[in-house]
């Protein structure tokens, strides 16, 4: 049982400060807005800060600049049409969001996904995780001044884009997961290309590490900056690498295995101190583990060649194309599913371990073709909430390292 602690955090206003403002040594407090267009806020986050010299007295994150009403749109779009919208939540890992949503639909409908589809999904989830961590590494590094590393990580990320392009036809916003499986089977050429890339990837991680882990500037700007204790993390509801960096071994892939993760061999990295440096190390190690899982998934895909990749269930899955043109019944199914796919009455919550933490979809259905309510438990929003906790009392220049290491994408925070 996790220990609990009362939530004692209150943002310190200027009045709470115990210094004499008439003392010429201290001077006035400065109110500063960082964002929403600041390049280091990773999107459109706005931070309202009160600064005492270079020290942050209080910090208020203001979110909502990228609010597009995704949850509300789901209510009018219907079950199927919401898929492309999930891509645009956390847009650095579109397929992982697709899978999280598809899993919620499947648990609501009570259907099981075929084995091969599970394996393809695991492969895509781990590729997405690597892609998202590469973005984290590149953007945080460029924010802290390591420009070369940004280009190196983005070169690698570009290669993953090309792999996804070869499989899905798009580089971003793939929308290739369907309820009951994946839209198309992973073909052999693409699988081979993915294997080649994944096998070469650990050497690239070594290269990144050689540039950062022992770099005096990176070390100095990350070590003991933004320390989150384990209790802090639990208070704030943090999950994912941020929680693991603080020493809690909590990974949904291990604690509540889904898509057959219990049968894969991988380790969960955890940190000891909970500072930005630990979170960086955890993510680096996670990329290595993800590459390991990718290879295992590829091995299994080789064995399960020719297996089902999409459920045969005419209530939820479109019939094969050839039969639509020849069979009246299948044509009716096609019309029924596209225009009016109904899910049983009830609520379902389903979550996956995304690169930022626990990504969950809560769906409520009244038995019609549209959700009554669709809620996205976005880990990014909780990560943003942790900013004031770690930033207050620190220097302004630490802010950039903190924002980078907490790792959020505003598309998901604001939804």
């Amino acid at each position: 049982m996790a220990e609990t602690r009362t939530f004692d955090y209150m943002p310190a206003g200027p009045g709470d400060l115990q210094v004499d403002r008439d003392d010429p040594l201290h001077g006035e407090l400065l109110k500063l807005n960082m964002g929403p267009q600041h390049p280091a806020t990773h999107g459109v986050l706005r931070l309202q800060m009160v600064l005492d010299g270079e020290r942050i007295v209080s910090c208020d994150p203001v979110v909502g600049y990228l609010h597009r009403g995704k949850e509300k749109s789901a209510e009018s779009l219907g079950w199927r049409k919401f898929f492309p919208h999930t891509d645009r939540l956390d847009y650095v890992q579109p397929l992982l969001n697709n899978i999280a949503y598809a899993r919620a639909l499947e648990s609501l409908a009570g259907v099981e996904v075929p084995q091969r589809a599970q394996e393809v999904r695991v492969l895509l989830m781990e590729l997405s995780r690597i892609m998202a961590h590469l973005i984290y590494l590149g953007t945080t590094a460029i924010d802290l001044g390591a420009v070369a590393l940004f280009f190196m990580t983005f070169t690698e990320r570009e290669k993953t884009y090309e792999l996804l392009d070869a499989y899905t036809g798009h580089r971003m916003n793939n929308t290739y997961i369907r309820m009951g499986g994946v839209y198309a089977d992973l073909d052999e050429d693409t699988a081979r290309a993915i294997r080649t890339w994944v096998e070469a990837f650990p050497a690239k991680i070594d290269e990144f590490e050689a540039m950062l882990t022992g770099n005096a500037i990176w070390y100095g700007r990350n070590k003991n900056v933004g320390v989150l204790s384990r209790a802090d993390c639990l208070d704030l509801g943090l999950t994912g690498p941020n929680l693991r960096g603080s020493g809690e071994e909590w990974d949904l892939r291990k604690t509540e295995p889904y898509s057959g993760y219990e049968t894969y061999d991988f380790d969960v990295p955890v940190g000891t101190v909970g500072d930005c440096y630990d979170r960086y190390l955890v993510r680096i190690e996670e990329m290595r583990q993800s590459a390991k899982i990718c290879l295992q998934a590829l091995d299994r895909l080789e064995k399960s060649k020719g297996g089902e990749f999409l459920l045969e269930d005419r209530r939820y899955v479109l019939p094969p194309r050839s039969s639509v043109q020849t069979s009246m019944e299948e044509l009716i199914h096609q019309f029924k599913i596209v225009t009016d796919m109904r899910l049983p009455r009830g609520t379902a919550y389903s979550c996956v371990e995304s690169s930022k933490g626990e990504l969950g979809f809560m769906l409520a259905s009244d038995g019609t073709a549209r959700p009554l309510r669709c809620h996205v438990r976005a880990p990014g929003l909780l990560n943003v909430q942790a900013i004031p906790r770690v930033a207050e009392g620190r220097l302004f220049s630490d802010m950039v390292a903190i924002i980078g290491s907490l790792d959020f994408v505003m598309g998901e925070v604001d939804r």
């Binding site: 899905t168 036809g169 929308t175 022992g214 770099n215 990295p269 955890v270 000891t272 990749f309 043109q325």
Partner: protein, 166 residues
Amino acid sequence: MVIVKRKTLTLAERLYLPEILRGLSITFRKMFQPKVTRQYPEEPLPTNEVTRGQPRLRELTEGHLACVSCGLCEAACPAYAITIDGQETDRFIEREPERFEIDMLRCILCGFCEEACPKEAIFMSTELELAGFTRESFKYGIDKLKRSTEELAPRMEYIKRINERW
């Protein structure tokens, strides 16, 4: 569970000067490696039948579309980009669209229309570039969407193949 190893800086790393030299050596090595930058638009991305570009309508016979204006793609479109008005025709397919408009500014290239179409009438082409001066010019009508069957044949075959399920 693995506990990540925190590093303590060695003397050389703390002195920083050797590190600068090491960094420079990486830079020089990179100079002799193959370039990864692609000179877009002079060097466009390769496209093939997997590429999901803008949706296009297939011509069944010279001047006539395969579309029967059933409206399924309109219903499947998550971006509400498609507008169809149907009409009767003397051809054997009996119905055809009078107006078929796709608002390319709305279209997110998701491919749901292609997936939904029961008549193999709409396909994702390899055309990706989009530019214009007015918003109106992005509302593509039948004249701009029409493509011959030969042009869309690779994609048609590909879609047939990936849908070939046991």
